[in-house]
Each structure stands twice: as structure tokens, then as C-alpha cells.
Symmetry: C2
Subunit: 325 residues, 2 copies
């Protein structure tokens, strides 16, 4: 039996524009998904402790459709990642006839822009390969996890989430080129969570339609890319004030692309007015989380008093990516 | 004694970017400033009924500083426009030694992005010139009113507000080129007002700094200009849905330039979630008004229940500009 964990992430800059080849800077944060894997004779049995509010257990036989009473879409999403992840582990170990008992405990809100599925996938591949006696380097785990997301999300995946979760720290993603950004010690991230989740597919499609229809929307996407390049300099310089300013602008450009939401704007303003250097939505948008930058806890208090905010927490930069617990 | 009135305006598209030579489309709305002028022997006596919540009266002697108990900045702003407006009227009539008694009644919130000062200035020039027996065409009133704003606002004026207020309807402004847009019958504008006002000078300076510092901010300004050109087509086509979509994007681009505010975003979302075709801040931002587009009153109800909204009202397109009452 092996337990592995992997961190969630926030987008410091660049979500959505990254789909069109612009650079993006996701950062791993100290909210982890923990996956425990134990070999069994056959099939796949999955316990998800925190994946939904109530938790559920699903047993796959050989090709049977799982029979559970959790919401169908939730199960399909969660199970898709896990079953593809163990398939990657079987492939890496060169074994075919092996079953797994998998337990997931995740502290990362689902579908809220914090990379929960990538963290579960990365941790599951690490735990399952270790359980089979194979040790992969984090780059290979990242690559295999990307293939899982690509498969489960009908080809709509970005390498950003899985690479960031596997490697930890601040990373730079541009197309298929992923690399870690050295020299970033810590970033005082605060998260506000509205308790909801956006529809990633619809949001990505909305940006695509807008960009196809209007030249100025295409220019807005390009502007985000240029902002990310400025942001990289500020990141290496450790210039929190400048990072915050750029986060604010990035949030506005995302709003222009139609991916913000009332709750996200309310949380962003609460954080800013409480003195945060800057704040923006993170991930696909439409609902979910915002990320703010502030060494003090004042924005957390402000978020706690914001009706649209269900939960707020500090999440330091996770310098470690995937690891065995 | 002559009474003249002139309408306020909303920016359908293009505020801030217009400063950098991009086109903008302000639209006159049915909230008017009414100015009554009566000749007197000398000096200037001004009654402002609705210019502040309490109203005030100021008497200028010959070069004396006025002595009143209203807030200094409010008086200086209001009086500056009126005294420059009557100076324009004296100039147009070719008389020097004439005094005026001026009464202002304005239903346009002050400094809130609805062009209150332009409406007062335009109506004051019309009333004062008529009182002196001179009839100017609206283009000349617009031009003289622009010179007043230019003088009072230390060279920071745009021709947009004064031209729109003098001519009425939907207008197009690009640099010094101002023209009315024909064929626009009505637009179902709704206004939400947070009770406050932004600091126009600071907001304009903030955009300038951002634009000077970052290429992507300059590109954001350019994107607004491109959006305005698309918006003109939608306006002529009477395509409310497209106009609304473009208003939403314009608001996001303005947010990226740092000129939105918590209250403005809250009102914009209230209107959108109540079914408005679109909504955006109008004018300099930082506080003041938003404009939404909807033929139903549902967004007004939503705005009434929005804590950040102090007042909401419908304001149809004002097809008539300045007029004698």
C-alpha cells in the first residue's frame, strides 16, 4: 500500500490565453490531494472521502458500469481520472492483469479552478506505479497525467495543471513547453471560494466564439500573453506590488472575455479593498475560486464577511510537487 | 428671462480610449439640466437648486471671491462652468458689460459619468445667448461649451459630452471629429447610480500611466477602439443583443484599465443577472453610474435590491439636444 500526494494550483497569470499558445504561469499551492493505492487481484475499487461532500465508493468489475448513488457526473468525472491513471500505472509497469483499491482524500475544491483533477491524477499515478514497484520521475508523471486529462476531457486538456502539480513551485507553460521557474521562494497566496464551479467546457467555448468573431477579442487574448511575460519578470524580482497590479489587469482582461462572475468579482473586490496587492479569478472562471496576493490576513477577514464567499484560506506556494507520503 | 435645457449622456462605448484618438459613442439620455438666465446690471448671481443635495446660491461681485457655505470644490466646479458659459454668451453677443442671474435645476447626478457639467454648460450658453437676443446653432453651442470645459478642466476635456448634449441622439466622436449617428430611434437605457463619483483626473491619469508602462495596456485601449467600430454597426442595425454583448466586453476592458469599482461591478452584475442585454460603467468610472440595455424593467428591480445602488431609473435616448423651454 502506497500513499502519494500532489498539490493543487492557482493561475498567477494566463489561463484561457494559454489555449491559444500564449504563456501562462500556474503556481502549485499547499492544498493537496492524497491518494492511497493497494494492489488487489482484479478490478478497481475507489473510495473518495472528500471528493464530494458526502464521499462515495465505487466498485468497477470487469467492464461493468459502476453502481453508486452519488451524482452521475461527479462519479464519472472522478472515476474517469482514477481509472485512466491506474491504466497509465499498469502501462508504466508493463503489467496488464492487476486490480487496485484506491482511496482519495482531497482538500482541493472540485472544479473550482484549483486543479483538483490534475492533483488527484498525478497522485494516483505516483501511488499506483510505486505500488507496482516502479519509480517514475516527476516529468514522466506529469506527461502521463496530461494524457489522462486529455483522454477524460475529450482532448481539451492543457499541460499546465498536471505539470504544475507534479513539479511543484511556479511553472511556465507555453504550448507543449513546460518548465519550472527557479528562484521563487514563496508567494503569499490567499484563496476565496464561492462554493461553486464553472462549466469549463462552456467557458472555453465562449472565449473561442468571441475570439473567432471579433478581432478585439483576439487582441485581448494576445494582451494577456504580453502581460504574462511582464509578470514573469516581476515574479523573478519578487515584486509583489507589481505582481498584484498585473493580477488586477489580468482579471479585467478575463472579464472582457466573459469568464468572470458576480461572485468572483465580489471576492476580488473584497480582497483588494482589504489591502491585497492584487486579486484575480483562477482557472476557467464562471464561479469557483479567486486568488489574492497578500502577506497579511486582512483579505481573509474581508472574504469571510463577503456573502458570496463560502470559504477562504491561505495557501502558500507548494515548493514540492508530487511526493510519497 | 430664458430657460433652456440640455440632456445628460451615457457612454454606450469608448470612454477613456477616446482620449487616445479612438472613436467613442456617447448617447444623450432623457435626464436634463435646466438653466434659467435673466439679464441684470452687473455681476453674476447663481442659484443651484439640485446641483448639490441642499442647493446653494453664490453671488459674484466684480472679481470678488464668492462667499458661500457649500463645499468649496462643489462650488468651484459648478461656478466655473457657469461663469465661463456666460462669458461665452457675452462673447457670442459681442457685449461686455452685462450681468446675469442664473438658476440651475439639474436631474443629472453630479460627476457620476452622465455628463452633468456638459449639460449645465450647454443649457447655460443657450439660455444666456437667447437672453441677449442671439441664436446660435447647436454645433456652435457645442463648440463654445467644449471651450468652457477645456478651460475649467485644465485642458482635460473631450468634445464628446458637450457635442452629445448639444446635438442629442447617438453621436460618434473621434478626436475633434464629432458627428451624429442617423437612424437610431430609441435605446432602452437603464441607469444604476451608486450615489458617488469617481475622481476623473486621477482615473484618466491612472490609465495614462498604465498605458505608458505596458504595451498590453496600450493594446487594451486599441481593442476598445476596435470594439467601438463593431458597436457602430450593431447600433445602426438596432441589434440590442449584440450591443449588449459588446457593452459587457467594453466593461471588462475598462476594468482591465483599472477604472471600475466594487459598486460598479455589483450593479453591472445585478443588471445582467436580471436579464439585461448588457451593462457597463459609463464615464470616468471609479464610482458613479452604470448603464444597462433592456426593454423590460427587471434590471431596475434588481438594482433596487442591490446594496451598492442608491438610485436606478430608466433614461430613454434623448433625440433632442439643447432646447429652449
Amino acid at each position: 500500500m502506497v500513499t502519494a500526494s500532489a498539490p493543487g494550483k492557482v493561475y498567477l497569470f494566463g489561463e484561457h490565453a494559454v489555449v491559444y499558445g500564449e504563456p501562462a504561469v500556474p503556481c502549485a499551492v499547499e492544498r493537496r490531494a492524497e491518494v492511497t493505492v493497494e494492489e488487489r487481484t482484479e478490478g478497481l475499487r475507489v473510495h473518495a472521502e472528500d471528493l464530494t461532500l458526502d464521499g462515495f465508493t465505487v466498485e468497477f468489475g470487469n467492464g461493468d458500469h459502476p453502481d453508486v448513488d452519488a451524482p452521475e457526473t461527479m462519479v464519472e468525472a472522478g472515476m474517469g481520472y482514477v481509472s485512466e491513471a491506474v491504466a497509465q500505472a499498469r502501462d508504466a509497469a508493463g503489467v496488464e492483469e492487476v486490480g487496485f483499491e484506491v482511496s482519495i482524500e482531497s482538500a482541493i475544491p472540485l472544479g473550482a479552478g484549483l486543479g483538483s483533477s490534475a492533483a488527484v491524477t498525478v497522485a494516483a499515478i505516483e501511488a499506483a506505479t510505486r505500488e507496482l514497484g516502479v519509480e517514475l520521475d516527476p516529468e514522466e508523471i506529469a506527461d502521463r497525467a496530461y494524457r489522462v486529462e486529455h483522454e477524460v476531457q475529450d482532448g481539451q486538456a492543457s499541460r499546465a495543471d498536471t505539470f504544475c502539480s507534479a513539479m511543484g513551485g511556479a511553472v511556465r507553460v507555453e504550448g507543449d513547453d513546460c518548465r519550472t521557474i527557479d528562484g521563487v521562494d514563496d508567494l503569499p497566496f490567499l484563496i476565496g471560494y464561492d462554493g461553486g464551479a464553472g462549466d469549463t467546457g462552456a467557458l472555453v467555448a465562449g472565449v473561442r466564439d468571441l475570439r473567432d468573431e471579433y478581432g478585439f477579442a483576439a487582441d485581448t487574448v494576445t494582451a494577456i500573453g504580453d502581460l504574462v511575460r511582464e509578470g514573469e519578470d516581476a515574479l523573478v524580482d519578487g515584486d509583489l506590488e507589481r505582481l498584484g497590479q498585473l493580477m488586477d489587469v489580468n482579471h479585467g482582461l478575463l472579464s472582457a472575455l466573459g469568464v468572470s462572475a458576480r461572485s468572483l468579482d465580489a471576492m476580488v473586490w473584497a480582497a483588494r479593498e482589504a489591502g491585497a496587492h492584487g486579486a484575480k479569478l483562477t482557472g476557467a472562471g464562471g464561479g469557483g475560486c479567486i486568488v489574492a496576493l497578500d502577506p497579511t490576513d486582512a483579505p481573509l477577514t474581508a472574504l469571510d464577511y463577503t456573502p458570496d464567499c463560502e470559504e477562504s484560506f491561505r495557501a502558500a506556494l507548494a515548493s514540492e510537487g508530487v511526493r510519497v507520503e
